[in-house]
Structures are given as C-alpha cells and as structure tokens.
Assembly symmetry: C2
Homo-oligomer: 372 residues x 2
C-alpha cells in the first residue's frame, strides 16, 4: 500500500472572497500521487465533498487511514497514477489541515471560530487555481469530483476554461433543490442551537457542539443512502431480542445511525460543517445568467463526463441530466453515464464495476488525447 504524507503549502497573498471578506494568509494541505510529467500535462485535480479531505488515496504515514477514493485513484486504477499526476487538496475552511475555523486568527491570536468567513465553491476554485500556479500547472488534464467535488469541477470549467482539459462531475448538481437546502438547514439548526456551540467560539470553552453534530450527521447519512439500500441492509432488523419500550435503539438502523453520528462528532469541526453546507446551498452558476445553465457553460472549453446514480435521491439523475442538457445547449462535448446502482448518493465512493469502468475508459481516452 502506498504511504503518503501531506504537504502544507503557505500562501501569503491576500485572498478576496465572494462574501466581501479577505483572508490575509492561509495554507492548504495537499497530497499528490504519481509523477508530474515534463510537459506538465498529466495533472488531475481531485475535489472533495463535505466530509472528505486531501487524503484521496493510499494510507497516511501515521496510521492505517485509507484515502477516501483509494478504490478510484492509484496505480492501475480508473484514475491511473502510473499515467496521471493526481492532486488532492483540503478545501479552505475545512478541518483536515488547510486553514479553517479552528485555525488561529492572526488578528486575535485565538481560533477564528465564527469569524472565519464563508467560502463559496467559486472561492475554492480560485484557491485551487493559485495552488496550480504554485505547482506550475497551467492546465489540468482533468478536474474531477463527486457531489460537492463535482460542483467544484463544474465551477473550474466555467471560471478557468483554458485551464481544464476535461471536467468530470459525479453524483452532482448545478444547484441544490429546496429539499436539499431544507436538509442542510435542519442540520445547521441542530448545530447552531446546541448550547455547546457558543456562537461558533466553542474552542475557547473547551467543548464542541457534539449533540448538534451527531444529529446533523444522522440526517445527512439518511440522505446519502437509498431507501431501498437501507431496507436491504437493515429493514426492521432488531438490535435486541425484544422491544424495549424505551428510547434505546430497538432497531439496527438506529444503532447504525447513532454510531455514525457519534463517530462523526468526534472528528469533524462544527463550523466547517456549517460553512460547507452553505457553500453547497449557494452554488448556482446559472443564477448570473437568469437561470440559464447553458448560457453559464457557453464559455467553457473542457470536455465533460457527467455521471449519475439511479438511486441517488440527494442529487438525482434528473440533476445530472439537467447538466448534460445545458452542455448540449452550449454545444459542448459531453459523455453521460447513468449508473444503475443501489447505494444512493454514496455510490460515488463505492467500487461499482460499471461506474469504475466508465471512469477508466474516460481516462484512457484522455491519456490518448493528451499523448500521455
């Protein structure tokens, strides 16, 4: 197994954010896999979703922590690091090494907490473009991501058309629905109203809003799985022999979700959760074009691969098809795969044969096209 060590890259040029706020300096945690070729033409940027990080593949030096997309990225894998140079970067505002709400605010000497500015998908893309500059990458062979990562890939193709050869957006959408926003806001309310949140400055009180994070994660988790998959895996299976007539877990699905919530609340930062869900809600590249996504995509130059999963009800195939339709309206080159997979939104993280074959074939064609 490939052991990887993250790099911390410091930036000291002030960053102007869409919110109007400015960050005077920040750093990014990144990992890379494979080798950048001499033409610097084989770089692939992997953008992550809500709770993931720069640790895309391999195991971390300090333990057995496997990268979140290790089944997709590596030697001989669909995104083949024998051919491609892959970069994982932790988003600004996240909690896995890049500057975020838990980092020290140089103006106060205390953690930013609630004073860390909101960051948009477009802000992340700007930051990643600076990272590309630093790494000497003028143009990515591909920008790829699932869910929120797919939004970043789309935003890249719009903001930096000349710097993206191919854009791959998986289990993603060009804008959240009212129902998506609703789920995000309930999760946020659970965190914001947890007495241990302390207006976002909980670090100073030596606590974390764990109750809120647990509930937020449980809600999220329900929406990541398909109802059928949950029925198949858990159904009405009991945790105990007899009903307890109390509020312990009677059903396995309850034990499972509570465990997931508890685990998440121990490693994820609440301010990061708030901030990233807002970035999700705000993403809507068509808004500046009167809601016309085709118009928003008109200046893109990339070729596109869009993948949806049949049982994903968070970002359903309808959303993937809307992107494809808009790309066709804009006369872009687009491949679409709608994968019949049972695992809901989470399918983008799983090792599904048809799904991985689609990505593998696409990257083969990219390699041919770029003579890698």
């Amino acid at each position: 197994m490939h052991v990887v060590t993250p790099d911390l890259i410091a930036f000291d040029e002030a960053l102007q954010l869409r919110s109007g706020a400015t960050l005077s300096a920040y750093h990014l945690a990144i990992e890379t896999y494979g080798t950048l070729n001499s033409e610097r033409s084989n770089a692939v940027l992997v953008c992550h979703a809500l709770n993931a990080s720069h640790h895309v593949a391999g195991i971390s030096a300090n333990g057995d922590d496997l990268g979140w997309w290790d089944n997709m990225v590596g030697p001989g894998k669909p995104v083949d690091t024998d051919r491609f140079f892959v970069i994982g970067v932790n988003n600004l505002g996240s909690c896995f090494g890049s500057t975020g709400p838990a980092s020290i605010n140089p103006d106060t000497g205390k953690p930013f907490g609630a004073d860390f500015p909101l960051v948009t998908v477009e802000d992340w893309v700007d930051v990643q473009a600076r990272l590309a500059d630093r790494l000497g990458i003028a143009r990515f062979a591909c920008v790829i991501g699932g869910s929120l990562g797919g939004m970043q890939a789309l935003a890249w193709s719009i903001a930096y058309p000349e710097r993206v050869h191919a854009c791959v957006a998986i289990a993603s959408t060009a804008k959240l629905s009212a129902q998506n926003i609703a789920f995000n806001d309930v999760a946020r309310q659970a965190i914001l109203t947890d007495p241990d949140f302390h207006g976002g400055h909980y670090y100073e009180f030596g606590v974390v809003p764990q109750r809120g994070l647990r509930v937020a994660r449980m809600i999220g988790h329900i929406t990541y799985l398909s109802g059928d998959d949950m029925a198949e895996k858990f159904g009405r299976a009991k945790s105990a022999e007899v009903l307890q007539y109390g509020y312990g877990a009677d059903f396995e699905i309850e034990s499972y979700l509570r465990y997931q919530g508890e685990k998440f609340s121990r490693y994820f930062d609440a301010n990061t959760y708030l901030l990233i869900t807002k970035a999700l809600d705000y993403f809507d590249p068509a808004a500046a074009f009167g809601g016309d996504l085709g118009a928003a995509l008109l200046n893109t130059r990339a070729r596109f691969l869009i993948i949806s999963f049949t049982t994903d009800w968070r970002f359903a195939p309808l959303e993937g098809r809307a992107i494809v339709k808009a790309l066709l309206d804009a006369k872009r080159r687009v491949t679409y795969a709608e994968i019949d997979a049972p695992h809901g939104h989470d399918a983008f993280l799983l090792d599904d044969e048809k799904y991985h074959a689609s990505v593998r074939v696409y990257f083969h064609s990219l390699a041919r096209e770029l003579a890698l």
Copy 2:
C-alpha cells in the same frame, strides 16, 4: 361554522399496556359531530396522526381553531355528519387533553414525564374500544384515519373484527421502513439530547426542550412534503435580496421550516413526540404472523378502503399496495385509490378533488349498505 366543545371522559378501570406497564386511571378528550341514530349504527371513529387531536372539525369554543380534518368531516362533506355520528378522540399519551406525560402522576403528585409508559397502536385501539363501550357503540360504521390514524384503523379491523363495518386507511402503511425509523430516531435524538430535556422531567424545571422539538419538526416537515411540491412552492427563492454569507435564512424554504419548527415547539409536548414516534416504529401487525400481512388480516371482517398519494414518499403508494395485496390474499373486500396529488404525505389533510370524491363515494355506499 360549527362550534364544538370537547368532552373529558374518565376511565378508572386499570389499563394493561403492551409494554407491561399499567395505568390505573386515565381520561380521554373527545369531540363528536352529528347525531348517533337510535340503532347506534352510524358511528364513525376518526383516528389522528402524530400531531393532531380529537378536534377534527368545526371551530373550538374558545377561539378560531379549525379542526384538522374540517374539509373532510362536516355537514355535506365527504364524511357527512348529517348522516354519520363522528367521534374524534385524542390518543392516550398525547398532549391535547387526554392523559399523557404532562398529566399528573397520581403516584407522585408530579407530572409523569418520562415515567409515562410507551403506548402502542394496539393499546390505543383497546382504549378506543373502551370509549366505544362507554358511548354504547357496539360496532362502528367506519374507523378511518390518515398516516398513523390509518394504522389505528387497520389495527381496529384486526383486534375487533366484529366491531368494524368499514376500515379506511389513508396515506398509511402496515409497517415503517428502515428509512422511516431512521427519520424518527434522528428527531428523537434531537429531543433526547437537548439539555432542557432533563431526562423527560423538564416540566419540573420550568423549561421545554424547544431546540430539540424545533429540529424534530423541521425533519418531519421535510418528509411530509414532496420534493416537487417544495420545488414548486419555494424552489431557490431568496428570503433577502442578497446572500447574507451567514447563518440567517437566505432561502424562503429555510424561513418556512424554521417558522414551522418554532411554532410546533411552542405547543407540542416533547415526551408525546417521543412516545408517538415509537408507536409508529413498533407498529407491525404482520410480525406475529412471520411477516405475512395477509395472515394477520385473515380474521378481519371489515370492508376496506385504502388510499395512497403518488408523491407521498413517507408512506409511498408501494405501502398502500402492499396492504391491498395482503387484503386480497386474505380474500377481503377492498377498494384502492391511488391519487395523483402533488403534496406528498400531507395530501391526506388537503382538499384534493379526486381524493375527497373517493371518500365521499365510499361513505355514500356505506350509508346505503347500512340503510342510514
């Protein structure tokens, strides 16, 4: 508008519950509409869902509070009180007048709180049978309800086959799915982990777990509406002119859900919420028959009307059809209506023409059959 006054009916015969607990005495809040005929053959029992009550129709004497099913029940309405004598009863354990967790525990002189026993759908039906005895009703022309109310109607047909002429279950299911249970448990966790919950004895602290109730209601509300309906009503409409880059409500759907959560948290009892969601989770009449719902329904004597709504994803048409299939297996007389309505689970409360026509026609046929 018909002004109604609830009655409080006291029962002092001890009630043995499925949990093993006993209630020595209790009372039920009821309302009635129309007149019981001399043959006592025109009584209809309306069973309520999670957050409703005995106040089914008309306006309450103390104000302008309209009954939750006023569009369905009344003179000339689908359940026509010119012909039928309709009874609404607040479930035991609820918080609108019947004995529940907020009532005084005669053993301690303080509110029951967490000591109020869990009550099952079958327990409610037993209690309602005692109420029927008290009112001198040997047999209901119909037991009817939506959602959890439909479960009670089904349970009536199984537990008291000779006492139910017709059973009408709307937007209901014979058992909750893993996803349903999951949503209920997240809501419960939000309440149980609210520091103001005080292990269910918050009454004594002069507080209510309002944070938890708000989140619980927001989650519930999302599942009561269809995604399409939410898209239609709210979409990505903004609450303010510009994005706020903070955690206020940016989108109308957020304002709406927060408002619903706030409103609910001011009138609904948290212990009741916990208790009723458990009753929902536990309901599974087929379980005692090795999962064979047809076998569970074999001794029923009622005729059945089952209604589902196409966009209801809480209790989808699949669930309604499963009940119909089981009734057909059991060679019961069943009518099924699958109503194409946009409003999700909440459709059962709304005035949809096709839906109301189905119920109206069914009650006409009941009236003919019973010579009312």
